[in-house]
Every structure is written in structure tokens, then in C-alpha cells.
């Protein structure tokens, strides 16, 4: 029997890995992947709770999160392509025309 907390802590770990990825990765695509990681972590929490609560709406939520993630990735990658076109780089540290 795996206690709920294992899932939750695992999920929290993944979430923080996502946050850290955002903070330390330089490649925009990798950063975006970190966000996906965060969403996945949340999904794990949902499913874990759903199981614990015996409520399927958690699953439904995961479903919607996935849809949203898909939509986001379509748009996000589009944006990344647009940025790459104009700046010829994927290094996030070099994308700082707008500041101060």
C-alpha cells in the first residue's frame, strides 16, 4: 500500500523540478518543457487525490489540463518559432530587448 503522501511528495518534487528548470535552463524550449513538467506534476496530484476521494472529477481535470497543455504547446512553440525568427537565438538570456 502506497500512502497518498508518496504520490503527493513525488508530485511536489516534480513541480519544483519544473520551477527550477524554469530558473536555471537557458534554452527557451527546455524552459517550456519545465512548465510541462509542472503541469504533469499537478496532474499527478489530481489523480492521486481523485483516487483517494473516489471522485472522478480529478480525472476530468487532468483531461482538461492535457488539452490545455496541448493548446498551449501549439501556441507556445509558435511563439518560440516567431522569436527565433526575429532573434535567431533560443537562449533566453539573449531575449531581453524589453527591459527597464
Amino acid at each position: 500500500m502506497i500512502p497518498l503522501s508518496y504520490y503527493l511528495v513525488l508530485s511536489a518534487f516534480l513541480f519544483i523540478c519544473g520551477v527550477l528548470g524554469f530558473l536555471i535552463k537557458r534554452n527557451i524550449i527546455t524552459i517550456f518543457m519545465s512548465i510541462e513538467l509542472m503541469l504533469n506534476a499537478v496532474n499527478l496530484t489530481f489523480v492521486a487525490y481523485a483516487t483517494e476521494l473516489k471522485s472522478l472529477s480529478g480525472h476530468i481535470f487532468v483531461f482538461f489540463v492535457m488539452v490545455v497543455a496541448a493548446a498551449e504547446s501549439a501556441v507556445g512553440l509558435g511563439i518560440i518559432i516567431a522569436v527565433f525568427r526575429s532573434r535567431e537565438t533560443l537562449n533566453v538570456d539573449r531575449v531581453n530587448l524589453l527591459k527597464l
Binding site: V92, N96, K99, L100
Partner: protein, 677 residues
């Protein structure tokens, strides 16, 4: 109930003249301007005569008229009104009479000056304010006149406004007067605070319930405050400095304002307030001391002056000191008596000095005169009369009044509560020394001007001469010449008055006339009667009159000594003075430079204030401190703003970092709340 005398007409007439000339005079020919000015002044004098004729029929004196409320706030209110008693009558007479004469004189004197209409408008305006001053029924109206004559004086001193010195002198006069007015105002506030009114009748009514102060108290405070005002207006120590400079004004102005009328306002005020002063021996003492000190001090300066008008100016200060001395010893009537005679002979002196200046083409330095007797005999004679009068040689007017003052100084008991009889003797001594000095410098002037050889150049150096009244160039005279009749006529009238004006004082007639004004009831002092009404009745009549006679002879003697000395030094041995000057050295320089008082004031008051204002207040407090703090905080905000900007580095990872920190804080707090609760 007495009939309504419509006293307001007296001051309003000159005001009408001033208004007409001031607003429209620019387009009028000079003749018309002069006519208007003379007409209204004459009417004023005429109306005064009419009032005078009715005065003796009045059942109630003081005769008070009220024309409506001027201002009101809370329970305090001041009325427009007139207050007519014997003192007012004398002052009205002097002001309108001498004023009229000087107007007449001015018609001739100013004939060739620019701004003719302006001059007469100012002069009439002065008359208005001076009459308001003496006629007003409350201290506040007196203050109105007080400030008003200050204004007129300012305008008239600065009449030749293109001359910087004239403008400067006008300003100095006004501001010095303002310092005095400051004291006056405080005095008024004290009166309001205690009696809630400034109307003479109410104040005097309220005051009558008090006795003589044994210690300095309310009355002393009021008295000294009023005295400060009087010092300003009447050019007493320490506020006398403006009067010599005021000689920058046209000579008739000096005669009217700075000799005959305005400067005596202080004496009038003290006399008018006698019921307050008499209740405070301390204040009286201060008045007497200031008077005596001024008399002596100014006389010493008079000796060294070479400018004909400045000699007269210092003489005026000195004579005003006499009047203050009189008031200080409780001899108000003597003071007013001297005020009157002084008005005659000093006006005459100034006017004839003006005539002299006129004769020699604007020259004022006596060292450049001499021997004018031959050229301007009329002037010479009237000036002689005036000089004798001021020197105090009988039977000229000055003798009577001056003698009265000296006698009262010697014998008065009103200072007895604070000082011993010896002090009176001391004051008398100062008076008598001053009298001698007065005689000396007046005759010095007389000799220097009219005797010896004419030392004047041929008037081609006019352009580079600082004191020159600018508009005399069109005369083009080579030799001194006599003034026109319109100028001589008033001189003659004044000469007659200087000669016989003092006779009204014989047998204490004048004293008796004025005594209702100065007679006051003091509740708690048994000796009050004699203390405040010296001369009214003397217990030791016989010994008193003996002493009086001795003193009289002494004073005449001193005057003659002064004359003799002047004759010796300036007629018989004109080379002597220079030697004496040399032997005196620094002392002489000090006195000739008026004891460096102006310089002293400048260095200790004016300069530090200007410096303080500029360096400390303006540049220091305003610019550096307040604005500095503001600009500093503005700069601080800008700095902070730059800091906030730097947060906005443009780097997404940094932004995420901020979000993470924010998240940590938010989560940390919420967890804390959730767990701790």
C-alpha cells in the same frame, strides 16, 4: 447740546484740494494748481477761524462729534469723529495757519520746479492727514493721521525722486517712523486689551478710575509704547536719524512738515495722552530723559554742521527734545507752548533758509555763503528775528516758551515719586547748556550766512554739486538776489509771530487756557494736584517767583554767551574755528559725522538683517533646507524608481526568480497562518 460744528470740513477741504490737483492737476496750468491748493487751505483756515469764534460758546468741552462707525469687530468699534478741545484748537490753528503761509511761500518757491501739481497735491494731502491727526476723536484716527503724515512726508522728501539721496531719505523717514508706529500700535493694543476702546472719551473715562502707579505697570507700558511712537515721529533718540536726511525735500516741506507741524505730533500725542502719562512717573521719567538727551545731543551735532538746512534740522530735533522734556516733567502746557512758538520761528527759519538757498541758486553749504546781508535784506531781517527767537532772547517768542520749560523742569514735582529733586536740577542744567549751544550755533549760522564776504562761486559748478536742487539752473544768476514778494510775505507774517507769538504766555495765560486738557484727577495721590499741575498754584509763590526770575536771567545770559561766542569765532576771528577743530581732532570728526550713528545702525541692524535674510533665510532655509529636503526626497524617489527599474532586467529567468521569491513569501505566510492558527 451744542450745535453741530461739522468739524469734518476742516480736514476734508485740503483733501478735496489734494484730490483735484492729484487727479486732474497734470493738465492744469501752474497758476490754477496753486489757486486750488491755496483756496482749499485758506478755506480750511477760514473754517477753523469760524470754529474758533464759536469755541468759547460751547457748553461742553471737549466737544465730540461722531460721523459713523469706521470699523467694528466683536465688541470693539471705532468711529469717525472729531474731538475738539483747547489743545485741538491750538494745533488746528498752528497747522492751518502756518500751513497756509507755507503754501503761499511754496507758490513762489516751487514756481520753477517740475511736478508742480504733484507738490501741491502732496502738500494738501499732508494737511488733511495732519488735521485728521489732531482732530480725530480716537487713538486710531490719530494713528491714521500719524501714518498719513508719514506718507506725505515720504512723498515730499522724495519729491525730487530722480535724486537717489532724496528717494533714500524718504524711505528712511518712512521706515524709521514705522518702527515708531510699531510701538504706537502696541500701545494701542494695550489700551484695547484693557479698556476695549480707542475713543478718547471712553479711554479717559476708563483711565480716571486709576491712581498714579508707584511701580512700573500698565500705564508705564502704555506710556513707553506710545513714547516709542512719538520718538519716531518727533525724531527723538534713538529714532531721530531720519530727520536730518529729510532735508533732501524741498525747503517748504522742511518748514511745514519737519519743523512746524508733523514732527510735533509726538508732543501732541503725549499731551493728548497726559492722563495716561501722568499716572506713570516712570514713563514720565523716560520721556524727560529722552527729551533732555535728545536736546543736548542734537545741539552738539548742530554746532558742527555746515549745511544750512541740516543745522536747522538738528536744531529742530533739539527743540523737540525740549518739548519732550517739558512733557516729561508734566509741563504739558509748556511743551505745547513751545510747540507753537517753535512752529513760528522754525518755520520762519526754514523758509528764510529756503529764501537764502533760492538766492544763491541752490547752494546749501554755509561755507560757500557769507555776506548775504547786502543782497537779501528782507530775508536777513526776518531770519534775524527768528534767530533771536530761537536763541531765547526776550521779548521774542522763543524766550517765553523756553523759559517756561526750563522753569518747570527746575520746579516740577511730577517725577518726585521716582527720582529726587536733584534730578530736576540736572535736567535743568542740560536744558540750559542746550540753550547756550542753541544760541551759539544759530548765531554761527547767522554770521556765516549773512556776514563777512560772499564766498560763493559764480554758480558754474552747479552740475557737480550734490546738494543742488535741480531746477534752479534756469535763473542763471551771477549774484545772490532777493526772493519774490509771494515768498517774502509769509516770512514777514511769521517774523511778526516769532516776535510776539510768545506774549500769550505772559502771566500763564496760555497755561490757563490749556489747563482743562491737562488737568486730570488722580484718585489716590494727595499730592496729585501740584504734581500734575505745576504752576497752577504754588504754595511758595514768592520764593518760586524769585527762583524763576533767577533762572530767567540765567537762560538769557547763556543765550547771550552763545551769541558772543559765535560772534567771536565767526565774525571777529573767522580763522579761529579751524584751529579749534584741529585741536579737537577725533572728537570733532565724530561729532561732525553725527557720532556715526547712521553708520552704527547700518552696521548693527540693517546689514546683519539683510545678510541674515539673504544667507540664512533665503539661501539657507528656503533654498537649501526646505527645497533641498523636497528636492532631496524627489531625488530619492527617482533613485528608488531607478531601483525598481533595475528589477526589470528584461531577463525572463530573473522574472521567474522574482515570482518564485514572491511565491515563497506568500506561501510561507499562508502556511504560517494556517499552521499557527
Amino acid at each position: 447740546m451744542d450745535q453741530n460744528l461739522n468739524l469734518w470740513i476742516i480736514p476734508l477741504l485740503p483733501l478735496a484740494g489734494a484730490a483735484i490737483n492729484g487727479l486732474l492737476g497734470k493738465r492744469f496750468p501752474n497758476k490754477l494748481v496753486a489757486t486750488i491748493a491755496l483756496f482749499f487751505t485758506a478755506c480750511s483756515f477760514g473754517y477753523f477761524c469760524y470754529v474758533a469764534s464759536l469755541f468759547s460758546h460751547l457748553t461742553q468741552i471737549p466737544h465730540i462729534e461722531s460721523y459713523g462707525t469706521w470699523m467694528q469687530a466683536g465688541s470693539f468699534h471705532v468711529e469717525f469723529g472729531a474731538y475738539l478741545d483747547q489743545l485741538t484748537m491750538i494745533m488746528l490753528g498752528v497747522v492751518t495757519g502756518v500751513g497756509f503761509l507755507i503754501h503761499v511761500y511754496s507758490v513762489g518757491y516751487m514756481a520753477h520746479e517740475g511736478g508742480y501739481y504733484r507738490f501741491f497735491a502732496y502738500l494738501n494731502l499732508f494737511m488733511f492727514f495732519m488735521l485728521t491727526l489732531v482732530l480725530g476723536s480716537s487713538y486710531l484716527l490719530m494713528f491714521v493721521g500719524w501714518e498719513g503724515v508719514g506718507l506725505a512726508s515720504y512723498l515730499l522728501i522724495g519729491f525730487f525722486f530722480r535724486k537717489n539721496s532724496a528717494a533714500q531719505a524718504g524711505k528712511k523717514a518712512f521706515i524709521t517712523n514705522r518702527i515708531g508706529d510699531f510701538g504706537f500700535l502696541i500701545g494701542l493694543f494695550l489700551i484695547i486689551q484693557h479698556w476695549g476702546t480707542l475713543q478718547y472719551d471712553s479711554v479717559f473715562q476708563a483711565v480716571s478710575g486709576y491712581g498714579v502707579e508707584t511701580h512700573a505697570g500698565l500705564f508705564t507700558a502704555i506710556g513707553i509704547c506710545l513714547l516709542i511712537g512719538a520718538c519716531g515721529k518727533s525724531a527723538q533718540i534713538p529714532l531721530y536719524v531720519w530727520l536730518p536726511d529729510a532735508m533732501e525735500g524741498p525747503t517748504p516741506v522742511s518748514a511745514l512738515i519737519h519743523a512746524a507741524t508733523m514732527v510735533t505730533a509726538g508732543v501732541y500725542m503725549v499731551t493728548r495722552s497726559n492722563s495716561i502719562f501722568s499716572r506713570s512717573p516712570h514713563a514720565m521719567l523716560v520721556v524727560a530723559c529722552i527729551g533732555a538727551a535728545t536736546a543736548l545731543f542734537a545741539a552738539t551735532m548742530g554746532i558742527t554742521q555746515t549745511d544750512i538746512k541740516r543745522v536747522l534740522a538738528y536744531s529742530t530735533i533739539s527743540q523737540l527734545g525740549y518739548m519732550f522734556l517739558a512733557c516729561g516733567v508734566g509741563a504739558y502746557t509748556a511743551g505745547v507752548f513751545h510747540l507753537m512758538t517753535h512752529a513760528f520761528f522754525k518755520a520762519l527759519l526754514f523758509l528764510s533758509a529756503g529764501s537764502v538757498i533760492h538766492a544763491v541758486g541752490g547752494e546749501q553749504d554755509m561755507r560757500n555763503m557769507g555776506g548775504l546781508r547786502k543782497y537779501i535784506p528782507w530775508t536777513f531781517w526776518v531770519m534775524t528775528a527768528a534767530t533771536i527767537a530761537i536763541a531765547g532772547i526776550p521779548p521774542f517768542a522763543g524766550f517765553f516758551s523756553k523759559d517756561e520749560i526750563l522753569w518747570k523742569t527746575f520746579s516740577s514735582e511730577s517725577l518726585r515719586p521716582v527720582v529726587g529733586a536733584g534730578f530736576n536740577k540736572f535736567l535743568w542744567l542740560i536744558g540750559i547748556i542746550t540753550a547756550g549751544m542753541t544760541s551759539f550755533y544759530m548765531f554761527r549760522q547767522w554770521f556765516m550766512t549773512f556776514f563777512g564776504e560772499y564766498r560763493g562761486a559764480k554758480h558754474d559748478h552747479e552740475a557737480d554739486h550734490g546738494h543742488a536742487a535741480p531746477a534752479h539752473d534756469d535763473h542763471g544768476h551771477g549774484t545772490p538776489h532777493e526772493s519774490p514778494a509771494i515768498m517774502i510775505a509769509p516770512l514777514v507774517v511769521l517774523a511778526i509771530l516769532s516776535f510776539c507769538g510768545g506774549w500769550v504766555g505772559i502771566h500763564n495765560k496760555f497755561d490757563g487756557y490749556l489747563s482743562p486738557v491737562t488737568k486730570i484727577q488722580v484718585a489716590n495721590t494727595p499730592a496729585a494736584e501740584e504734581a500734575v499741575m505745576p504752576g497752577e498754584k504754588a504754595p511758595a509763590e514768592e520764593s518760586g517767583s524769585n527762583t524763576e526770575l533767577i533762572l530767567m536771567i540765567t537762560s538769557v545770559g547763556v543765550a547771550l554767551i552763545g551769541f558772543g561766542l559765535a560772534w567771536y569765532l565767526y565774525k571777529a576771528h573767522p580763522e579761529k574755528p579751524a584751529a579749534i577743530v584741529k585741536s579737537l581732532g577725533g572728537l570733532y570728526t565724530t561729532v561732525a559725522n553725527k557720532y556715526y550713528v547712521d553708520e552704527f545702525y547700518g552696521a548693527t541692524i540693517v546689514k546683519p538683517i539683510l545678510l541674515l535674510s539673504t544667507k540664512v533665510f533665503w539661501k539657507g532655509v528656503d533654498v537649501t533646507l526646505i527645497d533641498g529636503a523636497l528636492n532631496g526626497s524627489a531625488a530619492g524617489a527617482q533613485e528608488t524608481s531607478q531601483g525598481v527599474r533595475r528589477m526589470q532586467s528584461g531577463n525572463i529567468r530573473s522574472y521567474a526568480g522574482w515570482v518564485a521569491v514572491g511565491a515563497a513569501v506568500v506561501i510561507g505566510y499562508m502556511v504560517y497562518v494556517g499552521v499557527a492558527r
